[in-house]
């Protein structure tokens, strides 16, 4: 029966045609508020002073609006219910007159004779019936749609909160770990943040305050009067997400409002706060909702954009999730810590009507974005505590330990057999040029020369050094040279007994290592006193007085190099030679080539140059067996690697 386009509604904002069941315009996303409104219908009771004629005119408008309203446009409407159509359509009436029985005609005639109030009552009843049957269905559908949105939003908020909880970086105040670290790094930023929070703390409670109209609507809805024409779906959406804290704060106001609205139904009022929290919600949602509630549609979209996790970078979404809650969390805590006076002051402040738009939140996000890199670095540094900084090339397995044990046993067994079986043998190696030079230099030392012997070797290398050192000292003693034995290594105090007499100790101990030698070389006692190092000498503190030769007995090429570079230039007239290990010889050879060293004797290979007795050397056969084992094992490692590679290649070919 409707004359209007089928099931289409025109958006009052943009003019877009929408289906009748849609709640928002598909083009501009604006609420189609007219959906639940009846044009010309005033819910307030009409004044009793109005006359019947004055009431007939609005009645006709109401009937006309009902005719136009798509909510009531239904093809199943009966003719008896369309009394208003008889007034407007003469054709329909003539048609019904011709077909109606006599009793029906009498009823119609009587109805025409009734007063306008009766007609109004009939119209209202008919309208209520239609609305109660069809309009209620659509209202229920709309309510279900809204509830579905609320649940979806709750689920999103919960999922977001779960992500934050999973990070386990939120303290009792709700502050994430990274944010607290940033605040520790930048206390001035903290001050700024607190200042911002103070400002927002003033703002937000004012946003959370409810008006009396909102409270009345909420109470009427909860007490079963939600079917009143004032109900609007978007209002339900916002009010059901009202924060609990402001609701508690407003309970006093709410009770008075309820008393005024319901005129003595306090029982329902007492149960109201529990009903408010019937919908599952979390604190974040509670806090975020008032901002959205007061936002205009444009800012509401910005706020949703902020609430959505940003997908710009990997770690940014979490930051963005946590940051908008930060000042709000602080706001929750601050009223608890503040005294009552401060609360009253905040309540006394004029309510700020400006909504918290997205532009007010984004600057904070940008600041955090600048600091996020440093926070990540700091987090990585903390995360590395207790971790291994150098990667392990391989883990020692049981098989590896067994292999090492077998190698060790093989080496020990081979050396033992070489020692026990057969003669010790001799190393018939050619005499090296530096060793021959050392021998010639040693022979050139006369009995009148003074020789300074500097000891600096460890007990571990004594078998590689002491045979040659002992031979050299014996040669000098035979010549009757003046020998002065010094060391700066405490270990050589008790190793010197292996060289000369068993109870022999160095003549002097030089403190400070190379610094002590340098101080004795370049330093002179001042006129005003004595240097501290002079007090450690038993004899003449002038170490190089009358010395023509210096023999360095050291297992460290570094020590010899330092001597030649630091001490040698100050005493260019003193000839220096070295007894060292075979490992150090290649490093010291350049100094021999540059004539900074008169000669070098290194290791058992040069023992032949000094004609050291074979019995004073280590068992050469055991030495050779050990070296052979080394060669075999090295070749074995190469073969094993080649075998592994061959097996891997064959497997790859099979695949």
């Amino acid at each position: 029966m409707s004359e209007y386009p089928d099931e289409l509604r025109i958006c009052p904002h943009c003019g877009q045609e929408n289906a009748s069941h849609t709640l928002r315009c598909i083009r501009c996303d604006q609420e189609l508020e007219e959906l639940f409104e009846l044009e010309g219908f005033d819910p307030t009771p009409a004044s009793e002073d109005k006359t019947a004629e004055q009431e007939l005119t609005p009645m006709a408008e109401i009937l006309a609006s009902l005719e136009e309203n798509p909510l009531l446009s239904d093809g199943n409407q009966s003719e008896s219910d369309n009394y208003e159509n008889e007034v407007e359509s003469s054709e329909v009436q003539s048609e019904s007159d011709s077909t109606a029985p006599d009793w029906l005609e009498r009823i119609r005639q009587r109805a025409k004779e009734e007063d306008a109030a009766g007609e109004l009552a009939k119209g209202a009843i008919a309208m209520d019936d239609r609305r109660s049957q069809e309009g209620r269905q659509q209202v229920d559908d709309a309510f279900e749609e809204i509830m579905r949105r609320i649940r979806e939003q709750n689920e999103r908020e919960k999922a977001r909160k779960v992500r934050r909880v999973d990070s386990e970086m939120v303290d009792e105040n709700g502050d994430p770990e990274w944010l607290r670290r940033i605040r520790e790094l930048h206390p001035e930023r903290e001050d700024d943040t607190q200042a911002n929070m103070t400002v927002s703390a003033v703002k937000i409670p004012s946003d959370d305050e409810w008006t009396e109209e909102e409270l009345q609507e909420l109470l009427l809805r909860e007490t079963g009067l939600s079917e009143t024409p004032q109900d609007q779906p978007e209002e339900i959406t916002t009010e059901l997400k009202t924060p609990s804290v402001p609701a508690e704060n407003n309970q006093v106001v709410l009770s008075t409002t309820v008393d005024e609205a319901l005129d003595g139904e306090p029982d329902q009022v007492d149960n109201e706060p529990e009903v408010i929290h019937n919908i599952p919600e979390d604190e974040d949602e509670i806090i975020d909702t008032p901002e959205e509630e007061n936002l205009p549609p444009g800012d509401l979209e910005n706020q949703r954009f902020v609430d959505e996790p940003l997908q710009i970078e990997g770690g940014l979404s979490q930051d963005v999730d946590a940051e908008p809650d930060e000042p709000l969390k602080e706001e929750e805590d601050e009223p608890a810590s503040e005294d009552t006076g401060s609360e009253n002051e905040s309540k006394d402040l004029p309510p700020t009507e400006e909504p918290l738009s997205g532009e007010e939140i984004l600057p904070d996000l940008l600041l955090l974005k600048n600091q996020r890199g440093r926070a990540q670095v700091f987090n990585e540094i903390i995360g590395q505590e207790g971790r291994r900084t150098i990667n392990v090339l391989h883990k020692t397995s049981r098989q590896s330990a067994m292999g090492r044990l077998v190698l060790g046993l093989l080496l020990i067994l081979g050396v033992l057999l070489a020692i026990l079986l057969g003669p010790s043998g001799t190393a018939d190696l050619p005499v090296s040029v530096p060793a021959a030079a050392f021998a010639r230099n040693l022979e050139s030392i006369s009995s009148a020369d003074s020789v300074l012997i500097v000891l600096d070797y460890q007990a571990v290398s004594r078998n590689d050094i002491e045979p040659m050192a002992e031979k050299a000292l014996a040669t000098l003693e035979e010549k009757g040279s003046n020998i002065r034995l010094v060391t700066s290594n405490p270990e050589n105090i008790w190793l010197t007994g292996n060289l000369l007499e068993p109870n022999q100790v160095p003549d002097e101990f030089i403190p400070g290592g190379m610094l002590g030698y340098l101080a004795l070389t370049v330093g002179e006692s001042p006129d005003w006193g004595e240097l501290p190092i002079a007090q450690v000498f038993n004899d003449d503190p002038n170490l190089f007085e009358g010395v023509q030769q210096v023999i360095l007995i050291s297992d460290s090429a570094e020590f010899v190099r330092m001597w030649l570079e630091q001490i040698g230039p100050w005493k260019p007239d003193i000839q220096t030679s070295a007894i060292t290990t075979s490992i150090s010889v290649p490093i010291l050879l350049p100094y021999y080539d540059s004539n900074q060293l008169e000669g070098i004797v290194g290791g058992l290979a040069d023992a032949r140059a000094l004609e050291v007795e074979p019995q004073k050397l280590v068992n050469q056969r055991a030495f050779q067996v050990g070296m052979l084992l080394m060669i075999v094992i090295l070749i074995l490692g190469m073969i094993m690697k080649a075998d592994e590679d061959a097996q891997r290649r064959s497997e790859e070919r099979r695949r």
């Binding site: 292999g403 060790g408 007990a459 292996n498 370049v522 006692s525 080394m630 490692g637 190469m638």
Partner: protein, 203 residues
């Protein structure tokens, strides 16, 4: 200023030492005095290090940390040596023999373990590092020089082969010279950086 103080002190010390070296013998007493100060400071630092070592191992024992038995051995050896050396004197023959009989076998055993580890590393180096220039050159050079030092080759009868072996044995000298030149250049650059305050000594 707090960060620049060590740099300034280091630079001044280096410049004074340089001046003392160049203006000899006028600056010799001052140079000797400065070196004596350095020796005293290093000796005091050594005493602090010893005290820290003793305290640390005392803590290990008090807390019952894993391996605290080694701490007990260390402290007993330390205080035993200290007391005996102070009582008998550092030049006492019995004291010296006792130290020598402990020290020499311990260090020889340590060197034997080093040889064992080197053997194990020689086996594993190819499996872990694979075939590369480093591993192949290491393996070949180790084989060559180990074999040459065995003394099995009697080269006196063949002058040509002897010359070849001699050349091979001089190869490490080439590497040593390059190493020494690099160390000298690095030390010189580091000294210049310290002198000009370019080196952050506090880091």
């Amino acid at each position: 200023m707090k960060q620049r103080t060590p740099v300034i002190i280091a630079a001044l010390s280096g410049l004074v030492m340089l001046a003392a070296l160049f203006f000899q013998p006028f600056t010799a007493p001052y140079l000797g005095l400065a070196l004596n100060w350095a020796i005293i400071l290093s000796s005091v630092a050594l005493l602090v290090a010893i005290a820290s070592l003793v305290v640390t191992h005392f803590r290990f024992i008090m807390r019952g940390r894993k391996g605290f038995l080694y701490s007990i051995v260390l402290l007993v050896a330390f205080f035993g040596t200290l007391i005996l050396g102070g009582y008998l004197g550092v030049d006492d023959p019995d004291f010296l023999n006792g130290l020598r009989s402990v020290l020499v076998p311990l260090e020889n055993a340590l060197m034997a373990l080093v040889a064992l580890v080197l053997m194990s590393a020689a086996v594993k180096i190819f499996r872990i590092r694979g075939w590369s220039i480093l591993t192949v050159s290491f393996g070949l050079s180790a084989l060559v020089f180990l074999f040459l030092n065995l003394g099995f080759l009697q080269l006196d009868s063949n002058p040509g082969l002897s010359q070849l072996i001699s050349t091979l044995q001089r190869l490490p000298v080439v590497a040593a010279r390059g190493l020494i030149i690099g160390v000298a250049l690095g030390a010189m650059l580091m000294a210049l950086r310290v002198l000009f305050g370019q080196e952050a000594l506090h880091e």
